[in-house]
Structures are given as C-alpha cells and as structure tokens.
Symmetry: D2
Subunit: 378 residues, 4 copies
C-alpha cells in the first residue's frame, strides 16, 4: 500500500518544453489528438536527399488506426509536406509535415472529463498543468507518434544509400512469446508485413492474433514486446560516455507512450552470465572479414557500433484504457467509478502499432548518429 | 554466425563530443583512467546550497575500488572542490571537482596494446578514432563514473531539503536473485550499507558474496542487476513527449558502462499482463490522501511523476576483462590469444560498484527534472 | 581588391540545421518565401497564458508587406493557431502557427535563376547546398521573419503580466538621423505607430519618408537603424559569462536578415569615453528607490539586467535587390549583368519592416531569459 | 533621470548556468578570479590534432596581466593540460586545461565588500544570487577570459591545416583612431605584435600608448575598439536563419566583459549607404577566380561565408574600476562613496588585453562552424 498527498495548487503554469528529439537530425512535434492537426518539423536534413510523400505514407500505414486488432478510429493519415523539399529533393531547409485529424470525436470524452483514469497521464497532466485536454488525451495521446513515424521515413531516406536497414516486429503479447534467437540476423521483412500482428513467426503470429481478439472481447487489453534489428550499420556510429548509441536508443524507446523496459543485445539475460560466456570472440576469416559466433553485445561496445547487427527489445504495458469498470477518484479527490462508453475506441494491444514507432525511433536515432559521426577528419 | 568488414582507413579524426549530461543541472566530465586526474564541472547549481567535501567523499566511498570483491586498484578518491563554493555554500557558479589518479599502473597494459579485447570498447575506439589510450582503457574505463558519483553528491544536496531520497542496491548476481517485491517501498538504507555486496536481503547478500568469490577464483566475472528506489518525489517532475522522466532515467542508466537493460516499474513483466491487472487504482482515504494498492507504473505516468515511489532496475553484463584466455584478433586483423597478466586488476562483478553510479545518475536526473520544473508559473 | 577561388564540387549535401532559437522559450521556424506556407512551432510556453489570434495579427501588421514605402507584395498574413491553445489559454504544449503564402509569384524570378545576385545569399547558398530555391529567395527571404513576429506576440503575452514592455523604432535612414538621446526612457508608442516609417520624431519621420520615396524612384535602396527600448524589466534577468543578456540580444539581432551592427547602451560611443564619464552612479532617494542620472550601461551589467531601461540599436544595410543594373557572374562563373524585371517587388528600406522583427526578437529573448530565471530558489 | 526599485528578497538561489559556449566545438569554463584556479574543458575536438602547451602559452601571453599599460597583477598563466592529449595529439576526448591563480590578493577587496561599484557586475550579482565573491570580482572578473584564450589555441590547431588565420588588433582608444580601411586585407601580424598596445599602425600605436599613460596617471580609464580579420576562410561556413556566422560572432563578442557594440563588414556605416553603393560586385578573372573591388558584406552573405576575408569591430567601454572617488550606494541601499585603495590593480584600457580574447572567440566560433559544416554529404 502506498499513500501520498498531492498539492494541486502548485500546478498552474508549468511548461511542456520537451517536444524536440535529436542533436543534428532534430525533430519537433506538435498537435493534439483531437485538435485540428498534428505535425512535425524536421531540421538537420542534408540537401539532396530524394523524398516522396509515398515513402512517408508507406511508413504511416504500419501504425494507422482502423486496422484489424487496433483502434477502430478511422484516420487516413495523409501527410502534407509543407516545406524543405524542392523538385523531389531536400534543400537542407527544415521539412514541415502536417497530418490533418479527420476522425476526431470530441464529445466521446465529455462524460469522463473529471475522472482520473487509472494508468493514464491525465492524473499527472492535471497535477502539473492544471489544464488537461481531455479530448482523446490531447498531447498525451499516442497520436503524436504518427509524427515520429513520418520523421522516421525522412531518416530512412538518409540512411538508405549506406544500406543501413531497420526492422521492428512483435515478439510477444501477454505470455505468448516467439521462439528466442540470440542473434536475430535472419528476420525477413516479408514475414513481418504478412502478419496481421507484425510477428514474423507464423505460428506465434496466429496465437497472438487469437489471444488479442479474446482479450478485446473481454473489454480488456494486453501488453507485449517489440524487437528491433538494425542491419548494415558500419562500425563507428555512436559516442562514448553520455551519447552512447545504446543510451540514445534507450532514451528514444522509453519516450514512446506505454513503454516500460529496454534491452540491448543480451539485455537482462546478460546479468545471469559469466564473462567467459558473454564475451563475443572475434575471428578473422580468409576473406579478411571479421567473424563472430555470438553477438551478445548487440552490435555496440563502449557506446559505439561494431559493424555487427544491432538488436534489442522494448516492453509495452497493456493499454490503460479498457472497457471494464475501474475504481478511481475524480479531479476533486472523491472516490468514483470509471466506465468508458461502448463506442470509445482503443487499442487492445498497443505493441502492434508500436512496431512502426519503434522502427521510426531507431531510424531517427541512427540518422542522428550517422550525421554526428560526419563531424570529423580535420 | 555474423561476418562483416571494418574499414580502419575511415577512422582517424572523429570526435568524442558527448561528455555532458543534463539540461539545467549539467555535468561535464573529463580525464583518463591512467592519466593525471579525472574531473567534473557541474553547471546549473543554484546559489545557496550547502556543500561539504565530506558529502562527496561519502558518495565516492561506495564505488571506490580496493574494497572486498572489487578491483584491487587502490584509489583514495580524494575530491578537490576547485570552484563554485564560497564559505560552504554554492554561489551559482560552476563547481569544478578534481580527483587525482594515485594508483595508475601504465605498464600493466603494454603487452596487450595491440590486441582487440573481446567485449571491450578498444575495438570500437580504434575503429572510430585510430588512437586508443590502452592504459587502463583511457576514457572508456569505468573510472569516469567516479565523476558522476561526485556530481550526484551535489545533486543530493539540492534535493535534500525537499526530502527526495534515492537508494540503489544489488538485486541479483548471476542467477542468484533477491526475493522480488512489486512495490519495494520499504527498503532500509542500513540494510544496504551493511552488506558487502550492497544487497539489502541478508540471505541473498551472503549467497552473492560467496558466488562472486568463487567466480573470481576461476578468473572469471559475473553479471548482476541493480535496483533503484526514489522516495519523496512530488508529483509533477518530468515532461511529456521526449523528456519523459522514465526516458531520461533510461538514457542515464544505459550511459553507465556495462549496462544492458532498463526497467521502470513493472518493466518487462508489464508485457505479460492485462490492463485490468496492470492499472493502479487510486483511492482517496479519510485523510484526503491518495492510496494505491499497487504501483505497477513505477511512480510515473505519461512521463511525469505521480507522487508515489519511483523504482526500476538496471542490468549489467559481466566484466569483459577476465583472466581466462580468449581467442581474438589484433589491431592488424590477425588471429591471436588474449591472456591478461596475473597482476591485472578488474572487478569480478561490476554491479557492486555500479550501485553508487546508478544512485548518482538517479540523483542527477532528478535534480535536473526538479530545476526544470521550476521554470514555471508566470 | 579581393580575389579568391570557390569550389562548388564540395557543396552538395550540407545541412541548414539552425532553425531553432532560444533555450527554454524556443521557436522553430520553417517554410519558403514562395512555397505553400511558412510556420513556427513555439515550445516552452507555460500553461495558462491567454492567447488570441488578434494579438498575433496586431504584431504581424507592423511588418506586413504591401504598405506605403515597403514591398508591394500583398500578403494578408493570416496566422492560424494549429495547436497548444485550448479555450483561449495555453496548455503548456507546443503552439504551432501557420501562415499561408497568398501572393507568391514564382515566375517573377525565372530569368535570374542562374545569376549570382550581388549582396544576396543565393551566392553562398549555392556554394553550400548546390540547390537554391530562387523563387523569392526561398528560405533566405525575409519572409521567414513573419514567423518570428508571430512568436514575439506569444512572448509578449508571457511578459505582459510583469509589465515588461518593448518598443522598437526607426532612428535613421541613410544619413537622416533622429536627434540623439542617451537615455531614451520617454519614447511613446503612439508616436511610433503614427509615423509611416515608424520613427517617433515627427520631423525626422517626414524627412525619412521623403528620402525613401526619392531613393525608390531611382530604383535604389537605402540602409537604416532601428532602436529598441525595454521598460519594466526587473533586475536579475540574463546570466553571467556566455548567456549575458546583451550577448543573447546581439545574437538575436544579427540573426535578422540585412543586419550589420549592434549596440547596447552607450555602444560604440563608450569606446571614446573615460571611466569617470561612463560609469553610471547610483543614488538612493527618499522613497528607497534607486536613481541614476545616466544609463550608459543600457540597463545591463555583467550580463544581468539592473532594473533600469534596456536600450540599444541595430544597423541594417540597404536592400541588396535594386532595379539598377549590376555587374556580376552567373552560377557557371561567367561575367554577366543583373537587371531585375520592373514588376519585381522589394523594400526600398528594410529597416521599416525590421522594426517589428527587432521588437519580436527582443520579446523572445526576454521571455526566454525570464523563464530561465525562474529555475531557482531551491 | 531613471528611478526604479529593486527587491533583494527575490534574489537567493538563482543559477549561473551559462558557462558553456559552442555547439560541436564546445568549451565550459570554471573558476573565480581570486580562487585556487581557473579552467576550461574543451569537448568536440577531433582525434589526431597536434597540441603543445607552448601553443597555449603563446596565446595566453597576449592577454596576460603584468605587462606595460595593463593591470600590474603578476600571473604567469601556466596552463596544465590534464586530459585529452596523448603523445602530443588529441584523442577525441575532452581536453581539460587548468591555470592556477598565483597572485590573488584577497584582502585588497575587503573594505569595499559592501559597496555597489558603479559600472560593475557586483550590483547585479547581488541582486540575482544574494552572494557575491567580492575578491577580485569572482566569476565576474575578466580573469575568466584566460580560459577562452587557452581554448582558442586548441581551435587554432584545428583550423591551421586549412590555412584559416585570425588576427585581432586595437583600432582605437578614446578618440584616437587608426586610419580606416574598408577592406583590411593587408594587416600584417608583425605590425600588431610589435606594438605595445597591439595597434598595427605605428603612429596611432604611439599616440594610444601616450594617451593611456596620461589617463592612468589621472586614476581614470578609457574605452577602445578591437578589430578582427579572418583570412583563408572557405565559402560555406555558417548557417542560415539563427546560426548565421555573423550572429554567432556577435554573440561571442558581446559575451566578452566590457563589450558594448559589434559590427560585421561595413557595420553601422552600411545604414548610411544606398544599395548601389553597398552591394559588392563579383567579377570573374582570367584565372577563374572571383574578384571583388569592395567587401562591404564583410565576407558573409545570408549567414554563410563567401570565401572573402571576414572582418569586423568590437567596442569596449572604459574599465569601470577607477581610482577616482565615485558616488554610489552600499548593499543596504545607503548613499556612500567608493574609493579604491592605491594598491588596487586594474587595466587603464581593457581593449588591449581584449585583443587576445577577441581573437580567441573568433577562433572558437570558426572551429565550431567548421566542424558543424562537416556534418554533410550523405
């Protein structure tokens, strides 16, 4: 049992000044879930990168609501490039992308305006800012992540000529887990896209689909894990000390709504091993290439990429918005019950749509590390 | 099996520009493991905070080498405050702290100068910078973390008047794990300090001590986990979107050498639960206090502290430097064997000394979030 | 005579990553002069500040083209608030403001596409980025400053409750200069707005108007100076060392297109005086107020505001785009002649429209310093 | 007459968090004038740059007190490189340089501890921080600039291989001014070093020397101007919008203590000219080089270097500390008289020692712009 007091009188007037991510490749997002639009300004893009709206759309498609097993909200997610691209190529100037909200249903949330939603940010927003845009969660909504995905598409266009490729996929939902692989170098992108839950293992995919449907019918939600895999990354990306590549990835992943944990390479399993088990040995082969039989380090040593594949895992909690009734308090501190209306629209498992976001945050982090690494060779 | 090529000709001249951590409360560290000294400049400290050298020493004592079950290197770790403190109080000016290296043994490393050390950063440093200070690992050494601990002591002095308290402790080493607790609100600081391995559970502490000694005698090392617990943190610290408090903590923790994973609150376990299991319900009691029977969110919702205790876990891999012989390559790409000299000094389990560093990074992150949160109320 | 070589082959791919200004109150601008729209995202605004579109419009009116003595381009400059304001008050979330371009005339610039324009940024943009959006100057156009003015209106709303007031005005054009005043504490805002050239001295205003008309008829342009005056600023804003208030103001002012010089307080005249002439003496009067008979320091000492009025001056060069023929080179390095078409639209004296921009940059810099100064009192 | 109230009760606890300058090449300075030492940490230096202590000493020599016509304080200014340099070359790690204070005379300032010094920062420091280290001005002292000069030497070592050269010199003191030159491309470094007041024009140098001696004998001080000239800078350095090269230079220069104004190229004179007079025409000569007969833009257009020499001017006020008696108030608000003791040591004209600082800030700004510009060419 935890008990504590909260002083709402101290709240009014705080700042939400953390809408920018990245150092050289830098994104700034804006917009509320049920406002007029959401958008992102991407600064630090070199001139001469080919950009099409189609590339952005293809990324947004992965996280769009309204698909099987995700929120029934219908958002076409049509990105508009407002600046920074000229004749199909970047000019070096900031790229502004806007996505209009088409299916905002403001009134859906009116009856829960004054209720603290268990597991939800409205409790802390009201504590910090006094005001909370209760329409779909305002800025706290996962809708903001569409902007990250759009920015990830721009990052991908920067990384593509170097043949750096990023994949993300669902590896578990609830207690249903994909057979593990210490060195997941052979995930095929097709096996991910063919799965309705973005899980590359067909058997696991089917079991997860069934499980989520059952959970959804119960008016409940379930957690899950998303893996990422970066192939083709050259040695030398990332920096020692505070901008370690794994630190930047952890920062990126834990900034995604609902994420609760992060692993790079062997992750928590590393804590159970000995040095002689965990160290990856290098071997030089006949073609002067470096070979490793294990990749426990996950492609990063001392914060810097080794040249081997980079991989890791992100844990997502179950969506806090569920249809079951829950005991809670209202904004005046009175005990009450929260029951969402039947038509309210939520994801039964956020991990599915998080796949596109995890991928985007990898791409953004890598593009930033790649461009930072260019500041060199005097 | 992973195979890849590395092009050393691209290396020379890169920058290591990531020696600063924090936004308002900002630390910049410098110095090499076996150089003349290491140091930290702490900017953003408000005027009027009482600071003593004794407080800094008491923090450094926790991570000092030369204790039982840690590296036998003898470093007194005497911090010198060179600026920013006047008559026992901060002036608002930057605080410069220097720690002279007393027990550097440069020649210890000469015979392995040209060998890529499995699991070690010298591989990536040579790839990125061409040069590598092989004496004790130079900048890549965990010696840098002494500066973080010194800075953590300053952060603690800022947080103390608000009664914000941070504890860190070893929760496992190898497969030996402390009995779990979903809501670790009752850890007593005494039970941590009385354990030679900083584990508050006496039985587990003894088993871990025995295990590490066995591992050390085998010339091997072992991984472990470190938990952190923040009590007394008011609601409202942290920001939405990219400066989420858990994202900043994840960034801080993954910047610690040898860390491989991070959890906040329920962590990876959250991915196995349903929303109705995971959501923490609020209840208002007779004293107008908020009560929770669970704290799965770990004291943070939407990136902002709730007022409940904040807790999480960090995974550390086994020390890469072990006395057993290992197959590897040299800097010219030839296959070779690495065998450390008998007198080389390394930690059999880095998690023990990491306790002080995890605590320091929590303190620094919280002090920064606390001061950032003051920019408010127009 | 200066001669030098330029290597265009090194150009392609550079980054324009400097579209953000400020530390806590932070603006990010985007958009091209003749693109679809321009915009600004303002982060770091505290929750609870009252904002109306009317306030933003009233600021934009000052710099709008299409007025007497300015460019005949007709832009209504209708700002749209896309996010961050809820029921008339800021929520703490980023404010996105978009201004659609209505009178872009892309074809106007086609015939000078390959000509290096003397005194213009297309020379350096082509050198740095290879590409240049020649339509009205793209990102290099002063049109970007409309976004600064919109952001300045938000900054003003933050400062208003503290009674901090900013005025800016034209103090000279060509060799016609307003009678000097060492301590311009008594400028009335009405005398500025009533002047078509924003000059508060009626006689000088008329002479400047006549002069600019003459210059414009000759197809030429003329430089000018803009003064700023900040009243009601409390002591304590600004920081020592690198974030000195005067340094941040100088940075802000020299980032305005066409600015060539900056003075704070006594400015260049200070270099001709002795210490006994220049030092401002403090005197305590009967009402426990501080009195000064001079304010040579310009309201700032050691980078921090004193409480006295802050004032300074910014020099603007004559608009580089003139209708007279000019000798120059084309993008292939051949000598040629630049003659703008008769219908091309430019300002005969940029200082007039710069008044709104100087004021906006003062407001933004002060709001940032004000919010930074709140990070205090542990 | 200006009158205003100051509320000291609001002061305690503010932060001085602005001790870092630069984006990629980043310096952080620390230390008080009469404390144990001052120092600088330089981050962002590429690996492989040759560094010697002698180079740093040669720069410090220019600003050292204890020379003719400067403060008689005797400081040998012996820089110690504590980290980041290995076998004579940078490793990419942060470079820590410390300079011990040898001639601090703390008691000199005891009798003026409670007096507000006209024109001095102790007034604003006390207002902001409550505490003020009155010993020689603490952090507000120009002694901090020695750290900038040391960092400038590192920046020079980065720029030297590109043949980018920076000169700075005194162009006026009081009303004695060097004959002007619109295009000062031919300043010889020898003519500067041979002048005791760092003025390259022998006649002006002698007149300035005589004038300063007269002023000093009167117990007074005098202002002056310092010019800078950057030769060999390639086209493409600097960025559009907010990181304009002239904006960064203005920011750098106005952060130097006692500076009151900044000009780039034609500066304030630009405001008096027409476009046809001010525009610099380009001409292509037989050797495919670009020729200009004027350089009014000062080598920068649209924030980006053109390839022509970059030049400008900085105004310095007379030293506020003079031996003449001055009317003022004490820290309790009572009217009083300030009379420095005879043995107090101050510069009669800060512009002389500012020459080294202006040069250093140019070098630092350019090294940063140079390294930033490398982040390119995908």
């Amino acid at each position: 049992m935890v008990s504590y007091s909260v002083d709402l009188s101290n709240a009014k007037g705080k700042i939400m000044a953390s809408n920018t991510f990245g150092n050289i490749f830098r994104i700034t997002t804006w917009g509320e879930s049920h406002g007029k639009a959401i958008g992102v300004v991407i600064d630090g893009v070199p001139a001469g990168v080919p950009i099409t709206v189609e590339r952005i759309i293809s990324h947004l498609k992965w996280r769009r609501p309204g698909q099987a097993l995700t929120s029934p909200r219908k958002e076409p997610d049509e990105p508009i490039i407002e600046s920074g691209v000229f004749d199909g190529y970047t000019t070096g100037a900031p790229i502004s992308i806007i996505i209009r909200n088409k299916d905002a249903k403001k009134t859906h949330y009116d009856d829960i305006k004054h209720i603290m939603r268990p597991g939800h940010a409205n409790f802390t927003y009201i504590n910090k800012y006094s005001v909370f845009d209760h329409h779909g969660g305002g800025r706290a909504s996962a809708r903001e992540t569409a902007c990250r995905v759009a920015a990830g598409a721009i990052a991908e266009a920067i990384l593509e000529p170097m043949n750096i490729r990023v994949a993300a996929y669902v590896s578990s939902a609830g207690s249903i887990t994909m057979p593990d692989s210490n060195l997941p170098a052979d995930i095929k992108i097709d096996t991910i896209t063919q799965s309705p839950v973005f899980c590359p293992d067909p058997t696991t995919s089917e079991r997860i689909s069934d499980h989520i449907q059952t959970i959804a019918q119960q008016g409940d939600s379930v957690g899950g894990t998303v893996n990422f895999l970066i192939q083709g990354c050259p040695a030398g990306l990332g920096d020692p000390i505070y901008h370690k590549l794994e630190a930047l990835l952890a920062y990126a992943m834990l900034s995604i709504p609902a994420s609760k944990g992060f692993e790079i390479g062997s992750g928590f399993n590393a804590s159970t091993l000995t040095g002689s088990q965990h160290n990856d040995s290098w071997h030089s082969n006949d073609q002067q290439q470096i070979e490793q039989t294990s990749n426990n380090c996950g492609g990063i040593l001392g914060g810097i990429s080794t040249g081997a594949p980079i991989y890791g895992k992100v844990a997502f909690k179950p969506t806090s918005s569920i249809k079951k009734s829950q005991q809670t308090i209202d904004t005046s501190g009175n005990n009450t019950t929260l029951t969402f209306a039947k038509h309210t629209r939520h994801d039964p498992c956020v991990a599915i749509r998080a796949v596109a976001v995890v991928k985007a945050m990898c791409l953004i982090t890598l593009a930033d590390a790649y461009l930072s690494n260019k500041t060199a060779k005097v």
